[in-house]
């Protein structure tokens, strides 16, 4: 990872390499990060292409598969409820020609104890988890970068007050904040989304988790801006009369891309994991909406009561673990690429 050979550069090329392309080269040399990227991209593409099916089938209950719901390779299962669902929800040609085949593939993954397809719930749950993770990352980047940069640029008393606020919030236990924020924001958000409670709930989770994970970001960005501020090029910009906002957005932000990318990527798996805890405690996404954490929590309960329903826990957990590992690998890879001196990577 560190000091990977410069294969992409021809000998005799004397121009100094741009920092961004140097980081990109280091990132590409990192095999685990590459594997993580490929996994996340492929899984996302599959989940998106399956979206028409998973959106209309994830909540379809089926009496036949509710009784005999083990994964069935090559076994023909009752298709009637699915036919009904496709008729009522999406009367598209998509379902008429691809539906039966897709449905057969789905039955290899088994059904849950209400007869709902595990595959479709997993595929939709993956997207829901990813959306919550990305939403939380966007949220925490926006607040954290602005907070840290403004504190560092303003300096003096404003800086002191802003950073004391961060200290106070650090004193609050993480998950307590999420729960409290969820309680406080629930009403306004549902009103904002005009009663679409399921969508509002997913957004609410992303907002609540994001609103508590910006603290580290703010500290890191403040430190970076404080050191950047003293550099000659900022002084030069100020000397030719650039305003504060211009300096912030045109001169400072491009130099902060590295730390922002690293922390944002590491917020995503954190948020996915937090969401799974909340789902387990009964305050995450609400039934029937799936998320990887929700599915794993449901699976754990099903296995606890009827030992033997292994597929209800294996498939969601496998997807959850692979997703979290992939995201962590990407984050670690980015950190190595942007900051080779850092020492807290998963692997050396």
């Amino acid at each position: 990872m560190i000091g990977a050979p410069a294969t992409s550069r021809r000998a005799g090329d004397r121009r100094p390499e741009r920092p961004s392309s140097r980081s990109w080269r280091r990132f590409r040399a990192n095999r685990l990060a590459g594997a993580g990227t490929v996994f996340v991209l492929v899984a996302t593409l599959i989940a998106i292409f399956a979206l028409p099916f998973s959106l209309s089938w994830f909540d379809v209950q089926n009496a036949t598969t509710a009784v005999r719901h083990a994964p069935a390779v090559g076994r023909v299962v009752d298709q009637a409820p699915y036919a009904e669902a496709q008729g009522s929800n999406t009367p598209g040609s998509w379902f008429t020609w691809a539906g039966p085949a897709v449905y057969r593939v789905a039955s290899w993954w088994g059904h849950d104890n209400l007869g709902r397809s595990v595959l479709f719930r997993c595929l939709l749950g993956f997207l829901v988890s990813l959306v919550i993770g990305l939403g939380a990352a966007v949220m925490s980047v926006t607040i954290g970068v602005l907070w840290g940069a403004v504190a560092a640029l303003a300096g003096g008393r404003v800086d002191a007050v802003m950073m004391r606020i961060v200290d106070v919030l650090f004193g609050l236990p993480y998950i307590l904040m999420v729960i409290l924020l969820k309680i406080a924001l629930e009403g306004p958000l549902i009103r904002l989304f005009a009663g679409r409670t399921q969508l509002a709930n997913v957004v609410l989770l992303a907002v609540a988790i994001g609103a508590v994970s910006w603290l580290t970001m703010a500290r890191v960005i403040r430190g970076q801006v404080l050191s950047l501020r003293e550099q000659p090029f900022i002084e030069a910009a100020r000397a030719i009369g650039a305003g504060r906002l211009r300096i912030l957005f045109l001169h400072l932000l491009p130099n902060l891309v590295g730390p922002i990318a690293v922390y944002a990527t590491l917020v995503v798996p954190q948020a996915v994991l937090q969401e799974s805890f909340l789902s387990f405690l009964g305050i995450g996404v609400q039934q029937p909406v799936p998320s990887l954490g929700r599915l794993a929590a449901d699976g754990v309960q099903a296995v606890n009561t009827f030992v033997g329903y292994w597929w209800l826990i294996t498939f969601p957990c496998l997807l959850l673990v692979l997703t979290l590992l992939a995201l962590n690998f990407i984050g670690d890879g980015l950190r190595d690429a942007f900051d080779p001196k850092s020492r807290t990577t998963l692997l050396v």
Binding site: D167, V168, G171, L172, P173, Y174, I175, L176, I179, L180, L181, I183, A184, E186, G187, P269, L273, S276, F277, F280, L281, G282, I283, G293, A296, A297, V300, V303, N304, V307, I313, C317, L320, V321, L324, L325, N328, R343, T344, T345, L346, L347, V348
Partner: protein
């Protein structure tokens, strides 16, 4: 030194005050009424009497009333557990969470550190790769999955440990182990990285070249340096383990503070929510202060800077 401790404690109290204000605002602005959810169709007089009993009718008065009580560690009645005051609930549940967290940290250090050292010494061996696998699983599997897996194996199939509950040492093993896994994984990986760094340094090479015993070089020379980052991780991690055991408590039915907090939040039990938050925050703040002071003792450079 005394002055520093005093300053930190005062600042901790200020922080606690700010946390109280934030929590109060959030709880008060939360929609819904705890009585409406529990018992429907109550006559309006009863609702009014209940609201007066729990000071729901006047938010500003409640703010100061709770604060005045909290100073004397009297957090008032709980909505949900009618026979208990919040102080009694916390006095019973907090020691449970603290014990669980401390034992979990102990396990995490006792297992994580040797694993990290060994996998650094035998880099790329089968031991290193196996431990890496476990580390990755420990970091990315949620606690309710690992906990349930342990439960199924040790309590249901092997029947060597109880399923849940609290009071006996055997009932502590599985929850503490589950809670320790992510910390164990992180400690092992911190130790491994630190050891790899130190093992390549000059003074270790000199020690080996002098013909010192291999074990002595690893443990007495290299490990002492490599342990420093782990030491600085232990403080926040211990606080996190003691205040973040919600999930584990729920899986193993441990009567800790986490379960009470989640229930309180779901039932909008205002007094209990605020007392739980204050108890948790006080622990976090106290721990941060202790850790900072300890660092100053361990690392002279920090003492000079302060």
């Amino acid at each position: 030194m005394t002055r520093r401790i005093f300053n930190r404690l005062v600042w901790g109290l200020v922080t606690l005050g700010c946390i109280y204000v934030i929590t109060f605002l959030m709880v008060v602005s939360a929609p819904g009424n705890p009585f409406a959810a529990a018992e429907r169709n109550m006559p309006p007089e009863v609702v009014r009497a209940l609201e007066a009993r729990y000071s729901m009718d006047n938010q500003a008065a409640y703010f100061f009333q709770f604060l005045a009580g909290a100073v004397r560690f009297d957090f008032g009645p709980s909505f949900q557990y009618k026979d208990w005051t919040c102080s009694q609930i916390i006095a019973r549940a907090l020691p449970v969470s603290l014990t669980l967290g401390l034992v979990a940290m102990l396990i995490a250090v006792l297992v994580g550190v040797p694993v990290g050292v060994l996998s650094a010494v035998r880099r790329n061996s089968w031991f290193d790769l196996t431990s890496l696998g476990f580390i990755l699983i420990g970091i990315s599997l949620p606690a309710f999955v690992t906990g349930s897996a342990l439960l199924i194996v040790f309590a249901i199939y092997l029947k060597v440990l109880p399923i849940g509950g609290w009071g006996r040492i055997s009932q502590l093993v599985l929850p503490a182990l589950t809670l320790s896994l992510p910390f164990m994984a992180y400690i092992a990986r911190l130790t491994r990285v630190g050891m790899l760094d130190v093992l390549g340094s000059d003074f270790v090479r000199t020690a080996v070249a002098k013909g010192l015993d291999r074990r002595a070089v690893i443990w007495r020379h290299a490990f002492r340096v490599a342990f420093l980052p782990v030491l600085s991780y232990l403080g926040p991690a211990a606080a996190q383990a003691m205040t973040g055991s919600f999930v584990v408590e729920k899986v193993f039915n441990v009567p800790g503070l986490g379960i009470h907090f989640v229930d309180a939040a779901l039932n909008l039990d205002r007094g209990l929510i605020m007392s739980c938050v204050l108890a948790y925050s006080a622990i976090l703040i106290l721990f941060n202060i202790i850790v900072d002071l300890l660092y100053a003792q361990v690392d002279p450079r920090i003492k000079e800077a302060a």
